[in-house]
């Protein structure tokens, strides 16, 4: 028997709640069989979830570390593992290992700053962890702005939490947008990058972006045109991963492994890497 520690051997997790967020995104609540959190994490870190016989995949932990009871994962149906998860029922066991990757610098670079979170679609999933962390420790941060857009009202992730909680917080401004006009929607209509430019944010903020690559590209351009420096803007990357600990070799960008040196990067750091993500 080999008694060495091994990060690749996972723990058992139990799905204790499944929330249908959008037509293709569900949020899964996961605990260990004895009802505890599988492990502690920092905002922006990820975990490997698997279903034996189906596969293993990396997901951002969408719940905040301040939630001491369980972890949540907002997962879009788009591949083998995710399709299987979407068909799963409450009580289903899965496997879980982590936490992996570097977190957002919530306790240093973000401390005392005005924060601007910009997300598109399921890109809100990794940001929800850091948004809720900053809301929990509200007095450690300045003003918080959240710009979030999706294809339609029905595709907005965490809609109930956004309306019932985030919108009612003092010092938190939420700016929602959807791509096209829709009956029953009286909010903003238009793409996220244009909305960011329209809102015309002051550059006294640290910005965090997550969404489809095309949204990130144009939103970064928008922020730059508003006068933001790349060193003020963070994002979180997604590449294929197998091990999660910088050994299997597939998520590298230049000399960096997204699984351990990322997924959180500042855009001025990304500028130094080959354009391969």
């Amino acid at each position: 028997m080999n008694n060495r520690e091994e990060t690749l051997i996972p723990k058992i997790g139990v799905i204790t709640d499944i929330r249908i967020d959008t037509p293709d995104i569900k949020t899964f609540r996961v605990v260990t069989p004895d009802g505890k959190k599988a492990f502690d994490h920092r905002p922006g870190q990820c975990a490997m979830l698997s279903i034996p016989g189906v596969g293993e995949a990396m997901f951002s932990i969408t719940s905040s570390p301040t939630n001491e009871e369980f972890m949540e994962f907002s997962i879009k149906k788009c591949g083998c593992v995710t399709e299987w998860l979407h068909a799963a029922e409450v009580g289903q066991q899965i496997t879980i290992r982590g936490p992996y990757g570097n977190p957002f610098p919530v306790d240093d670079e973000f401390a005392g700053k005005n924060l601007l979170f910009i997300a598109g679609g399921v890109g809100l999933a990794p940001l929800r962890s850091v948004i809720n962390y900053c809301r929990h420790y509200r007095d450690r941060y300045g003003k918080i702005d959240i710009v979030y857009g999706s294809r339609s009202k029905d595709d907005l992730l965490d809609y109930k939490e956004i309306i019932d909680e985030w919108c009612n917080d003092a010092g938190v401004d939420v700016h929602l947008t959807i791509d096209r006009e829709q009956e029953g929607w009286d909010g903003h209509v238009g793409f996220v990058p244009n909305y960011v430019k329209e809102l015309g944010f002051d550059t006294d903020k640290t910005a965090v972006l997550c969404g489809p690559p095309i949204m990130i590209k144009f939103t970064l351009e928008g922020l730059t045109s508003l006068g933001f420096e790349k060193s003020q803007v963070y994002t979180t990357l997604e590449l294929r991963m197998k091990c999660g600990v910088g050994k299997c070799g597939r998520c590298n960008v230049g000399s960096k492994y997204v699984c351990k040196d990322g997924p959180v990067f500042r855009f001025d750091e990304l500028d130094e890497l080959p354009d391969e993500y």
């Binding site: 028997m1 590449l239 197998k242 597939r250 230049g254």
Partner: protein, 293 residues
């Protein structure tokens, strides 16, 4: 330093194999050498090197990692790892010995890969100096000395004798096992051979190969170099280069349903494969040029 007659080497192998599994390069029917387990009658190859590197002693081409049993909604995880027994890899060339350092950097840095670590710790490496380097050899460019390869024991082979020098405690233990078959000797013949090897190395076509232009921090500089298009044009994407490479260590993790449970295994993977980086949202390396680079 100890030595034995070249005719006594099979007795040395037999002695080692009494207590330890012993692997060494052996010629196949195709004339190419591969590592095989020694048993009576197996002859040590004279080939300069094996086709596949000895990396698979520590990082096998496929390796079971764990098992799962499922019943209804429940999963049981079975840790199937076992501690490796001590074993000897005999006849490893200087370049391949160096490759273990590179693999160690990946697998033995935190978090340590227990599968690799168990095999690596239980290995005893016996290297052999390169009496006849080939014209395609370029190890000196990487600071490797083919006349004094590293490892737990270094071996030099002349026309008539085999010389042994231990470099580690593990190596000294191994030499003590064969003490009855070897004798203490002076190192003059070995020094002579080292000189010969160095003279050959200096004459090789790639003797002046310099590596300063490559390596850490230079990726960005050459990322859009036109040479990638030309170099990758003839690449079939078969991945064989990464399989024979002593330092390529990319792996895939897959599940196999046995009908009576699921075995999670890992296997060699290759950055040359079109699906290597393909994920649900797309693929960041779409052309063979991007993969080759």
């Amino acid at each position: 330093m100890r030595k034995c007659s070249i005719n006594a080497i099979d007795s040395v192998f037999a002695k080692i194999a009494e207590s330890l599994a012993l692997y060494l390069p052996v010629d196949g029917s195709d004339g190419k050498a591969t590592y095989k387990k020694w048993e009576n009658g197996v002859k040590w190859s004279n080939a300069l090197n094996t086709v596949k590197s000895p990396k698979e002693f520590f990082f096998p081409q496929t390796e079971d990692m764990m098992e799962f049993k499922t019943s209804g909604k429940n999963i049981e995880i079975i840790d199937t790892r076992e501690e490796t027994e001590d074993f000897v890899i005999f006849g490893v060339r200087a370049c391949d010995v160096r490759s273990f350092d590179i693999l160690d950097r990946v697998f033995l840095t935190m978090p340590v890969d227990s599968y690799y670590a168990s095999k690596r710790e239980h290995s005893i490496i016996v290297s052999v100096a390169c009496t006849k380097p080939s014209e395609t050899c370029f190890c000196k460019a990487f600071g490797i000395d083919p006349a004094v390869p590293k490892g737990d024991v270094t071996v030099w082979k002349t026309e008539t004798e085999i010389f042994f020098e231990s470099n580690t405690a593990k190596g000294a233990d191994l030499l003590s096992k064969i003490a009855d078959l070897t004798e203490e000797c002076d190192n003059a013949p070995v020094e002579e051979q080292k000189e010969k090897i160095n003279k050959i190395m200096a004459k090789l076509p790639l003797a002046d190969l310099k590596t300063e232009a490559f390596g850490g921090g230079k990726t960005e500089q050459y990322f859009d170099h036109p040479a990638w298009a030309e170099l990758s044009e003839s690449c079939l994407g078969c991945g064989t280069c990464t399989f024979v490479c002593p330092t390529c260590q990319c792996y895939d993790i897959k599940d196999f349903n046995t009908g009576n449970g699921v075995i999670r295994f890992r296997c060699w993977d290759s950055c040359m494969y079109s699906e290597f980086t393909r994920m649900a949202h797309g693929n960041n390396r779409l052309s063979q040029k991007e993969r080759f680079r």
